[in-house]
Symmetry: C2
Subunit: 246 residues, 2 copies
Amino acid sequence: MSDPEQKRVPLEDLRRSCASCSVQQLCLPAAVDADDLARLDVLVRKRRPLQRGEQLYRQGDPLTALYVARNGAFKTVVHAPDGQAQILGFQLAGELFGFDGFGTGRHQCTAEALGPAQVCEVPLDKLEAYALEVPGLRRQLIQLMGRRMNRDQAHVAILARRQAAERVALFLHGLSERYIALGGRPDRVDLPMSREDMGSFLGLAFETVSRALGKLQDEGLIHVDGRRVTLLDAQALRAMVHPDGA
Amino acid sequence: MSDPEQKRVPLEDLRRSCASCSVQQLCLPAAVDADDLARLDVLVRKRRPLQRGEQLYRQGDPLTALYVARNGAFKTVVHAPDGQAQILGFQLAGELFGFDGFGTGRHQCTAEALGPAQVCEVPLDKLEAYALEVPGLRRQLIQLMGRRMNRDQAHVAILARRQAAERVALFLHGLSERYIALGGRPDRVDLPMSREDMGSFLGLAFETVSRALGKLQDEGLIHVDGRRVTLLDAQALRAMVHPDGA
DNA sequence: CGGTCAGTTGACGGAAATCAAAAAATGTGG
DNA sequence: CCACATTTTTTGATTTCCGTCAACTGACCG
C-alpha cells in the first residue's frame, strides 16, 4: 500500500490515492480526458482524518472546497435557530459533496462525520484556475449538481409518503442503489447512521423507524441486524417503491 | 442598446420584452456586464402561450432549454409508475426553471401550467455557444442551481415538520418571500395552485390543508379568501417559522 | 463492574388520513 | 345573463397511524 522508495513526496501519495479512489468516475474528471485526469491530482488535497462527530464544515462557513468522502460517511444537517436539527443528506464513502453554498457562497448546512472518516479536499480556487484550462470541467460540475438535485428530489418524494414503512423502504432502496453504484453488494446495506439520524432524515420519530424496520423484516423483505441490513426480497422492495412494477 | 432602424426584426421585440422582464436580476445576466446583457436577448425565444393544464415539458423529455415563467405559474411534478404524482415545486411568474435534467440530460419531472401562462425559452445549445464567449455565464448558472438546491432543501425542511399548520405556515412564508423578491406586496400571497396541489407539495391530504389554513386564520395570522391569502401578522408567522426569533 | 448510549418494545393519546356530504366557485351552453 | 354541470373547497364523523412517554435490553468503554 506504499511506495517505500519515494521520500515522502506528498504529490505521489495523492496521485496514487486519487487513482484508487472509487469516485473517479463520479468525480470531476468524468468528462475530462485521460491526460487531464493525470493533472487532476494536484487539485486534491488529502485531509486529516476525522473522528465521529467531528465537523468538516459548518453552516455559515464560506464555501472554500468540495469534498470526497474517502473512508467513512457524513451527514449534512441544517440547524434551525431553535436548536432543532434537520438532516438533509448522507454522504457515503466515495461520494462527492459540499455543493450547498454555491447559491450564497456560504455553506447552508453542517457536515459531520458519522464515524471515523477521511476526506479528500478539492479547493475551489484551484478548481477555478483549473477550469480555465479545462473547459469541460464546469459543465461536468453542472452535471454533478444536477444529479445532486435529483437526489434531493428523491428525498422530497420519500418525505411526502405517508406510511412510515414506505419511507424506510424507499430509503433503503435508495441507499442500496448508491452502494451498488459504488461497487458494493446489491443485497447488503450497511447503515452508517443511528436510528435517530434516519428518523430526522425521514421525518419520523426514531422509535417509528425501529418499528418500521421490524415490520419490513416481519414481512420478509429485509433482515435487520443492528445497522446491518440485508435485502431479502429486492423485487418486493422495488415493488413497494414502484408499485406498478416499472 | 437598440437598433431602431431594423425593420420589425423579432430581435427588437425580444430585446424589449427581456428588458422589462422581472427576472433580469435573477436570470442569467446577473454576473454578466451590461454589454453582454445587450446580447443576451438573442438567446431568448418567446414561446406560445400555454393553457391551464398544458405541459411545457414531460418527465423523460431530453433537456433542450431553460424556461422563464413570463405570466402565470407552473408546477413541476414527478409521476410515480403507479400513477401517483408528487409535486416538487411551483414556479412563479418571473422565475427561471428547468434545471432538473442536468444530471441525466433528460427532464426528471413534468412542468405544467397552473393557469394561462407564457414562457420565455432559453435554448441550451445557444446558451452553450454563448458560454464560450462569456466565461462568467457558466459560473452564474452554477450559482442559480445552487439557489435552486437551497430551495429544495427548504422544501425538505417543510416536509419534515410534523404539524400540518407549521408546514402550511412555512409554505406561505416562503411564497411571500418569493413574491417580495419579484416585486410584490409583502402581505399578499396569491396561491396559483389548488388545495390538492398544495397538499401534494406539503405531503398532506388536501382536506388537511384546508383545515390548517382555517386554523391559521382563526389564530389571526392570515386571512383566507379562496386562493387569495393576506398575511395579517407576518411577525407571528415568522416566529412560527423561526421559533427562536432569529 | 457500573455508566452511558443505542436500540427495541409496549401503552396511550392525539393529529391527520379517510370517508362522506354539503357549500362555494368556476365554467359552459343556451 | 342565466341555468346547469363540474370542479374546488369546506366541514363533519370516524379510523388509523404515528408521536410521545416509559421501561427494558444489550453493547461499548472506562
